[in-house]
Symmetry: C2
Subunit: 237 residues, 2 copies
């Protein structure tokens, strides 16, 4: 019997799924899940995603050794160690450290998925690694796009489509959103950056001056570590 391979296009649709029946992959390509994959690859001991800057700051009282990452309007918040750019998550900065990271859309998706069998983090950086692991699990899979303010975005959907594409040869039954995501990925795969340039979100990000980050987030298979949720922390699988 085929396992389900489904794509949840926005966190607002998570309640439609019986989440405890799935392994969930959380996707927030620009930039949370990319930074998380890069940080765990580079030896971060753990990454704790939170939604509010205040919540992030509160960790410093409990654990003075934690690094804090928070950004508002593209600027690092005063008193914090770094922002959300994946370039901050290099080995010299994060190896052996625990990082508290603010991310609105990604944290929301994680929170709503918390009853899943297992939650892992996906990005183009660890695409093949995640797909190979998913292929070995023999479980129903739900790819959760964090989207933008609870609505659909293209970059997360394209990544979901890339995963569907890689799992095509496995014994999975894709649903309509998975078929659509795969077809969109197929259209875009030879020039992800060019394809995404026509989106509204891309305009927003360009206005923030993070085009270099965007290009980095679209690098495929530069890492192999798979971050997995353990309690409230993301650690290496």
């Amino acid at each position: 019997m085929n396992k389900k391979l489904q794509v949840c296009l926005t966190p607002a649709l998570i309640p439609l799924y019986k989440i405890e029946d799935y392994i969930v992959v959380i996707i927030d390509i620009f930039r949370a899940t990319t930074s998380i994959c890069y940080g765990i690859e580079n030896g971060a001991e753990a990454i704790i995603p939170v939604s509010q800057v205040e919540e992030c700051a509160a960790y410093l009282d409990k654990e003075p050794t934690y690094l804090l990452a928070a950004e508002r309007d593209g600027e690092i918040v005063a008193g914090f160690d770094f922002g959300n750019s994946p370039f901050a998550y290099t080995a010299d900065k994060v190896a052996g450290k625990t990082i508290v990271l603010t991310t609105t859309n990604g944290t929301h998706a994680l929170h709503l998925s918390r009853k899943a069998k297992k939650i892992v983090i996906g990005s183009f950086l660890n695409l093949t690694s995640v797909c190979n692991w998913l292929n070995e699990q023999n479980e129903n899979i739900l790819l959760v796009c964090s989207g933008w303010k609870n609505n659909f975005n293209l970059e997360d959907t394209l990544f979901a489509g890339a995963v569907v594409d890689r799992l095509k040869t496995g014994n999975f039954s894709p649903d309509d959103p998975a078929i659509a995501a795969n077809d969109l990925y197929d259209l875009a795969k030879n020039d992800l950056d060019g394809y995404l340039k026509k989106t509204s979100h891309s305009e927003r990000l360009k206005a923030l001056g993070i085009e270099r980050d965007i290009a980095f987030c679209l690098n495929v298979d530069t890492t192999t570590a798979i971050p997995v949720l353990d309690g409230d922390m993301l650690v290496k699988l």
Copy 2:
């Protein structure tokens, strides 16, 4: 200043929009909005969409001349005049009549959109007619896909993409779902039926023995009437 051209991929996402700022097009290709367009084209005086068979039956006490359309599991409900097949909505049956139609997904989408500036009904049958009218309104447009049990489906998204495609030359700014829908339509447009055959919903409908209905629902520009919501009734614009 460009008007917005947005696609709401499922009724569950309607609350994300300030609906009173938009003209809404309700889309439920298999088969509610197709049957409604065909019925109004063929001279039905009004069509009243309701969600429950019981609600539908209750109309008969109030208005004995109303025709009632209700179907469960592909069969016409005993005591009703016809089911949901568009083939029932021919001029000899519906001209001058008011029809009460049960449709779960479509009624749900209509109900959640009721505060819109105006609500019209779209299907492949009246595609060009609806697009020409939309193009003349100089208003923000929200294309609402009724979907399947609050989730995304391909047939409604393809139709939304067809509308986006026709409005490309106008002064509209498409959002990410509109861009995605347009690209999917572009992939599928030369063989809508073939494209949809790979979907899960198509399998469900095939099992109900309504392949002839599906082919009918994918006919493009066979009608010109635009149904519009007036109170709780859909009438000719």
